[in-house]
Symmetry: C4
Subunit: 252 residues, 4 copies
């Protein structure tokens, strides 16, 4: 295996596609959005990416089989745009791996003539979110202005000075290649998987890309999670001992 | 010394051998099984593997001499199968080392025409094991089904989502090379060296490979350890202060 | 992106320039001095330096746009000396990156015929500074003597045996290339951004390089910070609970 | 700078020299012995070794000048043996650096035709040493036997299973090159610089190599430290609060 190994399943023709990145991260927000779009648009997997910068482990599927940690790229057509969707199990666990993986992804993006990148994630605020919002950052001033129209908030003090990992580096390294890129971060507590935050991010995408997509599945999951959160709140009010980490892990 | 250095002692002819991996890990289960088979079948050491991804230290033998940390490969013949047995002092301590060492091992495996890989280890449950079981994961659906016949359990929720280190990567990276591989994990507390868990894993191997092997030595060690565990239980019931870590280390 | 990538904006002609290094560090002292000089002398940015040894993140500007972590080199002319000023967002986060980045910077310094290097930083003493001082270290005995004349203190026991990061390595690796270099460390508590300490360091530079520079901006900032420190002292005396880390972060 | 950079000051002719390694470590025992021999035999520095695997810092000398972390090799003649003495400021801070530096040192050793290696260090027992002893490990059985004659103890359970760093790897990697090597570890508390333990190690060397060396300087330092230890004991008996770490650091 090379440092980064690409397994390409098929070559597809895409017309100036938009790349959506939804790798694991805070509240799993980005990944939830990416998986929802992949599912609803029946996107096709076109390549997998392995690397020794991922954790040295395999994941066990529910049927007892295993697979290496990987990133995956899917392709599909929406009404107005061709889409490339990046998701996966993990981000790099080494410092240089973050840079090398994002550079490899940008090489692939350029090969497909990607016209714009949306990176998707959560912005953990350390408490339950009262009012759902999506914060943004972009690698051109024009994109900042455009995104404001779709309801994205750009705050002087937030998202906290820096954006870590692929969601940030795709913007930063993309800027050096002059690929316009914007990062959408749904507010989230940071404690739980957050489909409600994912829904808010998806709604921005729907407006920006004129996606015609059924958002019911995500709404259902958000409602389910809402009940879990209610239970957690009650437990807290009842001054019950802190829920054990494992239980939270189970909810995830 | 190269990043990974192979010292080959002798070339042996093997007929589509089965590779058993038993490197150090939880409860030392895999290593106990590997060492037992090596001892009982009088397996012959065919190569040693050094690497700067192992810890920068030497181990002191009981005669006062030292040796570098290494992995070792042994060969022997059983009734039905030729066997290659991998064991050693350590696994990689770096992220990329895990990948590189397993790739090197798979290169060697392919050179010997390995037909199947069994990786052996323990699955720590954080408490004393009431009923001994062996959990499994495999890199093909067929192997999952086959292993169920020998009493291996495949649980939806376990072994906990991921298998870390050589026991996992040999399956994952083996899959890319289309080498069938299965991981057998004996339930173990995770606190002590666990020959009883090793015995359970060995029994699965005996059934799967029709090994004719004396398991008495492992049984003896398991009984000995059983006494230690009993003593620990009594101490706990007598509300004695927690056994000092050093003592546990000594038991190991 | 290469391991270290240099983006050179323009070539300037400089006459045996002096290199001032003010990267982030204790009390942000060095960076404050560098930024002040860049601002007052309207220094021109001549190159940027990116590296995968910087943290894998982007920084969000107040207008909502992002940029990669980087180091920057500015050039300007003062009355007596041409100046090269190095500042940036971060230092290396890997061990080898520290060495490689400094070697790259020294290559650039040699290309411009740098005649001397001043590295600027803070020396944290873990308590509020009663009497502002600047400690020094240099890579030749002659420089030690010269600097004493400008009020730099050289103490047998301080600055504590070692100087970590670019401020130290520029002296050490510079010595191997026979580039004279001196490190100026303003005493600072280590808890807060410290413009007062920066002012003290700047004053040494003013004397050593005969800089004609307005120091008012730094004085203003120092006074402002003085008020914050007074408030902190009062809070401490009133035995109020420790100021939360976030608040201190905000001050920064 | 290369990954490892050797600055050779002069070529010396040596007759099958013995290499003594005394890099920093537990109780600084090895370094104390090496420095004592260098000083007493007026050994000549023949090379310095720099590396990006050392910490990214410079050390400040008492005259205010700085130097990079380095390892140094000295040469001298004793009555019976030519000696090469290795000492320095630091050992590697990376895993692979440990291996690469020791391999480089062994290359140099082979170039000088080194006939045997003694690595010197301390073995921390976590309490004050009642009876001074020197434990050993070697890379051949013959050396174990020989060293017993000089009073070195080889214990089944100690030195604790493994020897970390250059003192261990010189034996392990030396074995692969068939260079006989022995490690001498003086018992030490592990809390303080320990010239008394160094004296014990030196006495073994005196016997093994028939060194004619004045040990007074080390004895003086040991006595001085003895007084410090007495004071610490009294403080402990008087149930005074634990001596602050800084003070201990000062003693060092």
């Amino acid at each position: 295996m090379d440092e980064i190994e690409i397994h390409e399943f098929k070559k597809v023709k895409l017309n100036e596609p938009v790349l959506l990145e939804g790798l694991p991260g805070v509240g799993n927000v980005g990944k939830l959005v990416a998986e929802h779009i992949i599912h609803e648009f029946k996107a096709e997997k076109i390549l997998e990416l392995y690397s020794w910068h991922f954790p040295p482990q395999v994941l066990v599927e529910s049927d007892g089989t295993v697979r290496l940690c990987k990133n995956e790229l899917y392709a599909c057509h929406s009404k107005e745009h061709d889409l490339l969707i990046l998701t996966g199990d993990q981000q790099s666990v080494t410092n240089e791996g973050h840079y090398l993986l994002v550079e490899t992804l940008l090489d692939i993006a350029e090969r497909y003539g990607v016209s714009r990148i949306y990176t998707l994630g959560g912005y953990g605020i350390g408490q339950l979110v009262e009012k759902q919002k999506v914060l943004g950052a972009a690698n051109t001033v024009g994109l900042v202005e455009e995104m404001k129209q779709y309801g994205v908030e750009f705050r002087e003090e937030e998202p906290g000075g820096s954006i870590v990992g692929a969601s940030g580096l795709l913007l930063g390294l993309g800027k050096l290649r002059e690929i316009p890129a914007v990062c959408l971060l749904g507010l989230t507590s940071g404690y739980l998987v957050d489909p409600k935050s994912a829904q808010a991010v998806l709604e921005i995408l729907v407006r920006a890309l004129h996606l015609e997509i059924d958002t019911q599945a995500l709404k259902d999951r958000a409602e389910e999670m809402e009940k879990v959160v209610e239970r957690l709140k009650e437990m807290e009010q009842a001054q019950m001992p802190r829920v054990r980490e494992e239980e939270l892990g189970y909810i995830r």
